[in-house]
C-alpha cells in the first residue's frame, strides 16, 4: 500500500514539475513515474540474532536497492513505465517468456513482500481465522510447517518459497519457485514468503539452510501481516461462509 502511495505522490510531483517546465519552454514533456525503495517496517537490527543487522544492511541496502535502481533505469526507455508494481510483474512475466524487466520488477516486489513477511519477535503461530484455514488445508499447523520447510530445503539453486492462497482451488498452498518468479504470475495471492537466495542467509548461517529456515519459522515470520493479507485476499476469493461462533 505504502509504495502505491509513494508512486502516486511522485507521479503528482513529476507532473507538477513538468507543468512548471512547460511554462518556460514549448517542449512537451513526458510524465515519468518511477519506483522507490521501500524500507523494512522495523529497524535494521530489530531481527537480531536471527537475521543480523549486517545482513539487512546489505540485503536491503545493496541487493534490494540495486533491483530498484536497475528497474528504474530499464523503464526510462521501456514502454512498460507507468504501471503499478503488481501489474508490471504480471505483464513482464509474459506468460512464461519473461521480458528483460521481469527479473528486476519481480525481485523488487519479492523483497518488499519479504520485509513485511517478518517482524521482530515473530514466529510462533497464527490465530483465529488464518489458523483455521491452515488446519483445514494442511491438516494441522505442524503439517504446514513441515511442508514449508521441506519445500524450502528442496529448492535447487536460487528461489523463494511461498504460502499462497490459490484463487482457483480456493485453498492455501505452499509453493517453491526459482529465481524471481512469484505467485502473482499464476494469479494466486501470496500470504508470506521466504527468500532462499544464498545472499539472504549466507552471512548469518553460511551453508546451513536448515537452521535459517527454522529460524524464520520459529522467530521471524510475521503472522500479523499474514492475517492482514489473508483478510484482504478473502475479498477476492470466496472461502465460504465464515464460522461465526454461537453464543
Amino acid at each position: 500500500m505504502l509504495h502505491l502511495f509513494i508512486v502516486t505522490l511522485l507521479y503528482f510531483f513529476g507532473y507538477q514539475k513538468q507543468k512548471d517546465q512547460l511554462r518556460g519552454s514549448r517542449r512537451t514533456s513526458r510524465i515519468v513515474a518511477f519506483y522507490g525503495l521501500t524500507a523494512p517496517p522495523y529497524e535494521l537490527d530489530a531481527l537480531e540474532p536471527y537475521m543480523s543487522q549486517k545482513t539487512l544492511e546489505i540485503h536491503w541496502g545493496k541487493h534490494h536497492r540495486a533491483y530498484v535502481d536497475n528497474l528504474n533505469k530499464q523503464l526510462a526507455n521501456s514502454p512498460l513505465y507507468g504501471l503499478t508494481l503488481d501489474e508490471l510483474v504480471k505483464v513482464a512475466y509474459n506468460n512464461g517468456n519473461p521480458l528483460p524487466e521481469f527479473n528486476n520488477a519481480a525481485q523488487v516486489w519479492n523483497h518488499n513482500f519479504f520485509w513485511e513477511s517478518m517482524q521482530p519477535d515473530g514466529g510462533y503461530m497464527p490465530a483465529a481465522g488464518l489458523l483455521q484455514q491452515i488446519e483445514k488445508d494442511f491438516g494441522s499447523f505442524p503439517n504446514f510447517r513441515e511442508k514449508f520447510i521441506t519445500t524450502a530445503m528442496s529448492l535447487f539453486g536460487s528461489g523463494w518459497v511461498w504460502l499462497v492462497l490459490k484463487k482457483e482451488e480456493k485453498k492455501l498452498a505452499v509453493v517453491g519457485a526459482s529465481n524471481a518468479v512469484n505467485p502473482l504470475v499464476w494469479g494466486d495471492i501470496p500470504i508470506i514468503t521466504l527468500d532462499m537466495w544464498e545472499h539472504s542467509y549466507y552471512l548469518d548461517y553460511r551453508n546451513d539452510r536448515g537452521k535459517y529456515v527454522n529460524a524464520f519459522m520459529d522467530s521471524l515470520v510475521s503472522w500479523q501481516s499474514a492475517t492482514a493479507r489473508m483478510a484482504r485476499a478473502e475479498a477476492f476469493v470466496n472461502l465460504g461462509e465464515p464460522k461465526i461462533p454461537v453464543a
Binding site: G157, S158, E198, Y202, L203
Partner: protein
Amino acid sequence: MAFCALVSKKALGSALRSGAADLGSGLCQIRRLQTFSLPDLSYDYGALEPAISGEIMKIHHQKHHQAYITNYNKALEQLDEAIQKGDTSKVVGLQSAIKFNGGGHINHSIFWKNLAPTNEGGGEPPKGALGWAIDADFGSFEALVQKMSSEGAALQGSGWVWLALDKELKKVRIETTANQDPLVTKGLHLVPLLGIDVWEHAYYLQYKNVRPDYLKNIWKVINWKHASDAFDGEAA
C-alpha cells in the same frame, strides 16, 4: 539351469563382509555401487588469497561440495533400489536430484583444478594451441576475459560460466549453465576447459553482492595450464 542375478553390494550385506564373494563359483555377478568421495585440493585453502579468501575455499570445499557428493551417493543408492524393483516412476523422479547433485560434484571437481595459486602459475595466460584458438575465436585473450566476466555477472540466480571447446566445430566459446547443470546439458559435444562458479556461496563472504569484483579478481588465480591440457587432449 544356472540362476544368475545381479545383486547390489548392499543386498549382499554380511555375505560380502565374511568374504563369501564367490557365490556359486562365478554364476552370480556382484555389482558394486560406486560411492564418490571428496577430492583433495592440490593447494592450501588460503593459497588463492587475496582473490578468493581461505574461509570461502574451506566452506566451499568441505561443506558445499561435500554436500553434493553425499546427496549424490544417496540418490544413486535410491536409484539402484528403484531400478531393481522396476519402479519406473521412482527412477524418473530421482533424475532431478541426480542432475543437481551429480552436476554439483562434476562442476566443483573441475573448478578446483581450474584454480591455482599465483606462485604456481595461476593467472598466467595460455600459450600454445589454446592461446591461438582464443585469439582466433575471440580476437584476443583480453576480449575473452571481458566477455566471460560480463556473461558471468549477467547470469540471473545461480549457475556457472564456462569456456567450452566445441569438439565438432573445433572452436572455443562461452556458455552458461543454470544451477548445477553440467556443461554437457548444453551439448554432448562440448568439453569444459574452464568453469567459474557464480553461485553466491562462491564469493559472498568476501565480495558480498559485488559479483563483478569477484569475476575481475578470479582471473589472477585461473589455472590456464589445466585448460590448455584439456584442450590439447581433445583437439588432437
